[in-house]
Symmetry: C2
Subunit: 201 residues, 2 copies
């Protein structure tokens, strides 16, 4: 059995990662989602082990020290992290996993698991991105401007990824990602098992 | 305009490269085929500049010395080679080119144009491969045995390629290659132009 693929969907805030991942999971039903660990309090309706693994800060810091996370970050006082153990268990069972994550997180994952498939979602234009961020309606002009500046810088990181997919239209972006996943399965580096099998006959 | 892709379809003798390329060209009508230069005499019906560029040996050797070939080989006393100029002209015009070639040739191309997409076609099993080679009906048992031995050795080269595609069934192999071509267009290394364009807006 071949190992599954770890597919990392990442990119600037407002590029449309969330929508793409949601659609991707609808189309590729076998795709697993990794469950993060967090120190924040569960919200109403969230389920332990499904929404998150809820753990306390001491436990989280211990796990950091034991190198148990593919990536982690502290956001507004709470820790969030992707446990290696859960992800590797799925990959070893031959399941593909999708991980939707910001750029800093993706770069950490790449360091810990370079065999992953790293996909940078590109907003069609800075203007369009601005519209998307403004469309959320929750942020002030200053916040938007600050975010645009950081997006501009974040575009530099695109070249650290394996693929760059333009999100001009969700369906077309999803189709491209499906193609990438399929073709990554034919990468020479992932084909040792089958070549040895051919030789055996 | 993005540069086109140079797609190199290669693999052991009898793996089914020819059938796959023929079908691929039927499905992807925009795919160009590179025209080789050769020193052998034109056969009946062959057209200069379409079947081959027919040149004399002195000319061919001059071109070797001027480093004008992506790859070349001498087979049964005749030279065959892929002219860089023709290939690069197409790639710069944004056209994708397919090159069907044996392993030694593919390795030469890789050295001269590492940005190419190198696909190793894998026969489903040594037994199946033996059937295919025997099915041609033109070779003696000794020749087949000798060829099988060389195929066995050639499988070692699969890991010098980007992709390994199992040819268990032509349509499924062709579908995989189409996916590879599409997804290679989204490689981060080929996306500089679009990222700069997004910034301009």
């Amino acid at each position: 059995m071949d190992n599954g693929l770890l597919v990392v969907i990442s990119g600037p805030s407002g590029a449309g990662k969330g929508t793409i991942c949601k659609r991707l999971r609808e189309v590729m039903k076998d795709l697993k989602v990794s469950v993060s660990a967090t120190t924040r309090q569960p919200r109403w309706g969230e389920i332990e082990g499904e929404s998150y693994f809820f753990i306390d800060e001491e436990d989280f810091i211990n796990r950091i020290n034991n190198d148990e996370f593919l990536e982690y970050a502290k956001v507004y006082g709470n820790f969030y992290g992707t446990p290696k153990k859960e992800v590797f268990k799925q990959l070893e069972a031959g399941n593909d996993i999708i991980l939707e994550i910001d750029i800093q997180g993706a770069l950490q994952v790449k360091k810990n698991y370079p065999r992953g498939v790293f996909i940078f979602i590109l907003p069609p234009s800075i203007t369009e991105l601005k519209n998307r961020i403004e469309g959320r309606g929750t942020d002030s002009k200053e916040v938007i401007l600050e975010r645009m500046k950081s997006v501009y810088e974040e575009l530099n990181y695109a070249f650290e990824y394996d693929y760059v997919v333009l999100n001009d239209e969700v369906e077309s972006a999803v189709e491209k990602i499906i193609c990438i996943i399929k073709s990554e399965k034919n990468r020479a580096i992932r084909k040792k098992a089958i070549i040895n099998k051919i030789r055996e006959v």
